[in-house]
């Protein structure tokens, strides 16, 4: 058997009337038709029906490549009230069960740090700085539960306590008493874009995944998508779509070569179409996943006639998208 016959056999297998379900695409049929070297060649069924004799004209679909471009969460999520209470309870429980803090390892006697420590422990009553005033070795250590309205379990309160503690330590131990030390606070979780609800900004909703939505020239919102051209793979078509719709001023990464979801729709038949009896083809959109690294969408150079874009979280998508469209895509989006 010469190797040259391999290609010819593949062509023959393509020309052969398919014995497999016609719902399977051509590349997959090739996969199915390929036989492993160990197995015997399948007996070719002699089918009298030819492809041309198929009378039922199936509605053709235009295959579209869509891009689900997302900006992943930048910061951690907000804790649930239960989680805050539970974590705080566990911290105080740990304080009760752990061995007491060994001061003599960390503070040398007579140093400014030692003096500062003595003052702090008087008012704080414990080595931990984020559990409020609580001494686990006291006679009233049983009183470890927070009362109603207490702020100690809030992360913001704990951060503030840590920063103030660091500031007072820095001020008490520094040589220069004239200057007041400032410890930088962490940046706020709510940004300017959140306050203005700027849906074009990537700084909005930092703890959520944001998805790029574009508005077509007809005025409806969608993920960027366009028909796959001949000789183009789905991935290449998706990359081209993204470049043509939202510009190249973005550092993006396509996750894999497979679509993560799909949506299909048939256009409504208009009156003119009824007269000519020509069925307009429907569309199937296959969505590829892509991650945003840097940059921003830019519609000024788009060749698809797009009017507007928005970066939206999952719940906000439902307001803008068609109901059918949203129900088809919602399960491929991350919860957070």
């Amino acid at each position: 058997m010469s190797s040259g016959s391999n290609g010819a056999r593949r062509v023959a297998s393509l020309l052969r009337p398919s014995i497999i379900d016609s719902g399977v695409c051509r590349s997959c049929q090739e996969t199915l038709g390929r036989r492993s070297y160990s197995s015997a060649a399948p007996a070719i069924e002699s089918t009298s029906a030819s492809t041309a004799a198929d009378p039922a004209v199936k509605p053709a679909y235009i295959i579209n490549a869509g891009v689900v471009l997302s900006r992943p969460p930048q910061i951690t999520r907000e804790l649930e009230p239960f989680e805050k209470a539970f974590f705080f309870y566990q911290k105080r429980l740990n304080e009760r069960l752990a061995l007491p803090f060994t001061k003599y390892f960390y503070f040398k006697r007579g140093t400014p740090a030692d003096e500062d420590w003595k003052k702090k422990i008087q008012e704080r009553r414990t080595a931990a700085r984020d559990i409020g005033k609580y001494n686990a070795y006291d006679s009233d250590a049983w009183n470890d539960e927070l009362l109603l309205g207490a702020k100690e379990s809030e992360p913001e309160h704990q951060i503030e306590a840590l920063v103030q503690d660091a500031e007072s330590t820095a001020n008490a131990t520094s040589q220069d008493t004239s200057k007041k030390e400032e410890i930088p606070r962490p940046y706020p979780r709510i940004t300017e874009a959140d306050k203005k609800n700027d849906q074009k900004s990537l700084d909005r909703l930092l703890s959520r995944t944001l998805y790029l939505l574009v508005q077509s020239k007809e005025g409806h919102w969608k993920f960027p998508s366009s028909p796959v051209e001949s000789g183009e793979t789905l991935r290449l078509a998706a990359e081209r779509t993204l470049a043509q719709s939202a510009g190249v001023n973005m550092n993006t990464w396509f996750v894999g070569f497979h679509p993560v979801g799909w949506h299909s729709f048939n256009p409504r038949r208009s009156k003119a179409d009824n007269a000519t009896e020509i069925e307009a083809p429907g569309s199937k959109i296959f969505f590829l996943k892509s991650r945003m690294m840097a940059g921003q969408a830019d519609l000024s150079v788009n060749t698809q006639g797009l009017k507007d874009f928005k970066w939206l979280a999952k719940e906000e998508l439902a307001q803008y998208l068609n109901t059918q469209y949203y129900s088809n895509i919602k399960n491929m989006l991350a919860d957070r």
Binding site: L32, P72, F87, Q90, L93, L97, Y106, L147, D335
Partner: protein, 356 residues
């Protein structure tokens, strides 16, 4: 006689429904719970559920302000009996029949109880929200309907029966070596590889030198500081004459095993703080790994000192005694390729020839 009194035997023999009952049977007036069920809609049930969390319930100001547990305890004339409120777990396990049984380890009064978790680590949240869906997408393999995977040959090979001595002989190992690799199943939503545990191991070659145990103490304290886990020490298994180490005599190594919250915090610090600050560090060697999804790399003492816990009081550690260490990232991936995919997504760079 028997024909005259059939009732007792008949009543036993007949099914229950036909036996005359003493109670009047008001079929029409009986009300069952199930009769009413269809009349109630789903929304009626939902209204019974509390819409808000009990933690955010509003309580009248006066009730909240007047509640002071400390004052209440002080005002109590007779103190509560101590033993009733402070349960002590038995020190020894005296068997299942003893009346004094220890509580389960998850109970705070158990001697085995370990408190926690104390936070929701960032590395874990990143994995859940971003990395795991991406890995699932990347590892997707399309199998068209009607696809049958080619039959796999047996992992352990049969003998070819060319010799009579092959009868009842144990099966042969795989080709190319005796090691039976882990089975890799297709990655689906329920077996996305994740970090299982992290091992920090440090071999201190000076541990036996000049009969000075401080090297091992410092190594243990340093590893404890960066990992938040008690270390285990190990004795040498081999003699190393130049370092004066004798097998079975000298404790030479410390190890910490990190799970769960500790592991995620350590991984976050490693990826976000320590590794980016190492000078001229190319990454983890691409050939690292035990071919079953566990990747190891080493840090020299200067790199270990970059951990924030050591940096904050660097002066407290004796000079030059901070140890280097080997860090093993154990993942649930079955192959090194999958493990590298996970770790590089989580922020660990790999360099050089990638060996899978």
């Amino acid at each position: 006689m028997a024909a005259r009194e059939p009732s007792r035997y008949l009543a036993r023999a007949l099914p229950r429904t036909s036996v005359p009952s003493i109670r009047p049977q008001g079929f029409l007036s009986r009300r069952n719970v199930s009769d009413e069920a269809p009349a109630r809609r789903l929304s009626d049930h939902l209204t019974e559920l509390e819409s808000a969390s009990s933690l955010s319930t509003t309580v009248p100001e006066s009730a909240a302000a007047s509640f002071d547990p400390l004052a209440r305890a002080a005002a109590r004339k007779n103190q509560l009996p101590r033993g009733r409120y402070q349960f002590r777990s038995p020190k020894y396990n005296r068997g299942p029949l003893h009346p004094h049984q220890p509580p389960p380890p998850s109970h705070p009064s158990s001697r085995l109880f370990v408190p926690g978790p104390f936070s929701a680590p960032r590395a874990e949240q990143t994995f859940d929200s971003t990395v795991s869906p991406d890995i699932m997408t990347l590892c997707y393999v399309h199998t068209p309907p009607g696809f049958k995977p080619p039959p796999k040959s047996a992992r352990l090979r049969e003998w070819d029966d060319s010799s009579p001595y092959h009868k009842n002989r144990v099966l042969r190992g795989p080709r190319g070596g005796d090691v039976l690799r882990l089975l890799r199943k297709p990655i689906k939503f329920n077996n996305i590889p994740e970090i299982e545990r992290i091992t920090i191991h440090s071999y201190v070659k000076n541990a036996a030198a000049e009969r000075n145990s401080s090297w091992l103490h410092v190594a243990g304290i340093a590893v404890q500081a960066i990992s938040n886990v008690r270390v285990e020490t190990f004795k040498s298994k081999s003699n190393v004459a130049p370092w004066g180490i004798a097998a079975g005599r000298d404790s030479v190594a410390v190890k910490a095993e990190l799970y769960g919250e500790n592991m995620h915090h350590f991984f976050g610090k490693l990826v976000d703080v320590v590794l980016p600050r190492i000078k001229d560090w190319e990454g983890v060697k691409g050939s690292s790994g035990d071919s079953s999804g566990n990747i190891t790399f080493g840090l020299i003492p200067e790199n270990v000192a970059l951990f924030p816990e050591l940096e904050i009081n660097y002066d407290m550690y004796p000079p030059k005694m901070i140890p280097g260490c080997h860090i093993t990232l154990h993942t649930t991936a079955k192959t090194d390729k999958d493990a590298r995919l996970l770790l590089s997504a989580m922020g660990i760079p790999f360099y050089g020839k990638i060996v899978n």
